[in-house]
Subunit: 374 residues, 2 copies
């Protein structure tokens, strides 16, 4: 039994969108899927019960960088692994730590075999490369392990982007060596290449020469205009291996997700629904709603009329605005519950449209309504 | 039908402790009972579902002072009352605002008909007295309304305490005039008198001349030694009307609650379980546990071995310490859930001991174990 098997259940006739199913060590994931981000061994303000019962998340993401620094991968391993530590029995994907280390800017130094940096918690010196990242993700025990790579800066010249991509491809090979094919943890390679389609395709070809269980697209949503992001997905769509899951990292808004599915993407993660919730920004089919706004002070309606989440079933915009203005913890919690429910439910609606052969209609109707109000 | 009916179901033979039942407009409350504090129309970090399903709270407390300033009693009334606003369909007790206004110190001025003060939110001038407090609590629609009183400072001379108590008794009469006996809202009078037993008994007699549905003891837990607090309850116990519920306000630790029940108290409220939870202090039968402590870093046990709360059923002390150190919102939430469950469950165990005629054994065993570790 492989750590990951993937089946395509339905496909949009005229395009790349598909409805799939992933079998992982801790369970089944229906795709397209949104993965809530659980940076520090918790999806902020949510319990596992919220995530399974109300939000119906089937897989969540954990951050190697944060966990290795606090409470440490050694501790999590001794406590039985990340699943047991956070009491989450469904699949987990862990990133490699590469992106967070890269985000440290001047605080890190890139070397032949990885990156040297200082902990943002206590300033101690740390080294993280393909070998270390594989070891840590093995200690965490995630179902999907991400290759350690460098996120190419934006903007970058073509030679900068090429050098960075080639280093990531070399590291990708080292990751596979340190985490050979096994029956509990799948490994995904990550396409880099900046905003240059030819580099992106070259990167994808180099990854195809290595035996990865899935393909991710990295280095997007790093400050580039939305058209450039879509252009990179457009360039890659015809070349992505049809028998493996495709994951675009760190993307995005609800309409980005629909656009991504249209370009053959199966998996998404983003901090937007959780972070925005804490800032009072709520997602609906009619675009974003800022609960701070005075217009909601006595609005008896739920966030979104036909939403089935606990928040919308029980509370008015008026109450949610009060909680936000009063800086109550319950504000973050109820807002997060709605936003994650919205994202996961949107993926469920997309899967349903794909099964029914109604993808183009669903996509067009959604994008028009969402963008009319955005 | 009265707004409150009270029955005594069982009584400790040799003492004052009793097992009772209150019928209120929004449901039945089994006593002795602990009422979680929901200051700003939310028990901090908890949903109504948590409070009913896991914590099994049967009545919560709301704060008139906070709600009148934000979002305002007018707004809550227009949104259908406090129950509907916060989506809580069980009984609510609201305090009068007197204690919070008194806590403002130099920012308030006591007058013949109430207190003039400035809002801590926007500095606007506000006046609150018996008439205003009854009007606001009527707008909120609570099941139990508290009389507007002055909390006697500690320490106070006997003449200061007497003058303060007499003013509160005059205001108590005004409250009853402004909130006559009706079928939806019960009114409780509040015993004052500082740390002088004779004043306390005089206050209780003056309240008995007015037709209140319940009797509260105020002005305790304001900085006095625990022995003085117990001495006041001892002095009052033989004189409390047996056919009405007895409520001691703002008390206390788990052992205070057991001591209070022993002195004939039926109802308690305190911010301790919720506030301490957010500071990482957790309650158990073996006393308090500070989750920050390094000794819990790799402790795989739950907070308390035989606790049935969601937190103890799913998470280790190690994980809870990690959440606290990482300043995660889930820390406040899981800690609060445990502490409130502990307080409400302790009341359930006390009710059970009273029903079984085993109160003295239960009380002694609990106090010995709890204080051995405290």
């Amino acid at each position: 039994m492989n750590a990951l098997t993937f089946e395509v259940l339905a496909k949009d006739e005229g395009g790349f969108a598909r409805r799939g199913r992933m079998h992982l060590a801790h369970g089944v994931v229906e795709t397209p899927v949104f993965m809530p981000v659980g940076t520090q061994a918790t999806v902020k303000s949510m319990t596992p019960a919220d995530l399974t019962e109300d939000i119906r998340a089937s897989i969540i993401l954990g951050n190697t960088y944060h966990l290795m620094l606090r409470p440490s991968a050694d501790l999590i391993e001794r406590m039985g692994g990340l699943h047991r530590f956070m009491s989450w029995d469904r699949p987990i994907l862990t990133d490699s730590g590469g992106f967070q280390v890269w985000s440290l800017g001047d605080l890190r130094k890139i070397e032949e075999h990885g990156v040297r940096f200082r902990s943002h918690i206590d300033g101690s010196a740390v080294f993280l490369g393909p070998k270390e990242s594989m070891h840590i993700q093995r200690q965490l025990g995630s179902d999907i392990v991400m290759a350690f790579d460098e996120c190419t800066p934006y903007p970058a010249t073509i030679s900068e982007a090429e050098a960075s991509m080639l280093m990531s491809m070399r590291w990708a090979g080292e990751c596979r060596e340190h985490l050979p094919v096994n029956d509990t943890q799948a490994l995904f390679g990550i396409v880099q290449g900046g905003m240059y389609p030819e580099l992106r395709i070259q990167s994808l070809e180099m990854l195809s020469a290595i035996d990865f269980e899935g393909i991710a697209i990295g280095g997007l949503s790093v400050g580039e205009p939305k058209e450039e992001m879509m252009a990179m997905m457009d360039a890659l769509a015809p070349h992505l291996p049809v028998d493996k899951p495709h994951y675009v990292m760190g993307v995005g808004t609800p309409d980005d997700l629909i656009e991504g599915i249209d370009r053959g993407i199966d998996m998404f993660d983003c901090v937007m629904p959780t972070r925005n919730a804490r800032n009072g920004t709520l997602f609906t089919d009619d675009g974003k709603l800022n609960i701070k706004n005075l217009r909601y002070a006595e609005d008896p309606r739920p966030i979104m009329e036909d939403c089935s989440c606990y928040t919308c079933r029980n509370f008015s915009r008026s109450y949610l605005r009060h909680l936000y203005m009063a800086k109550e913890i319950l504000s973050s919690r109820l807002n997060t519950l709605h936003n994650l429910h919205y994202y996961c439910d949107l993926m469920s609606r997309a899967r349903n449209a794909l099964e029914q052969g109604e993808w183009p209609e669903f996509r067009n109707r959604f994008l028009q309504r969402y963008r009319d109000h955005a």
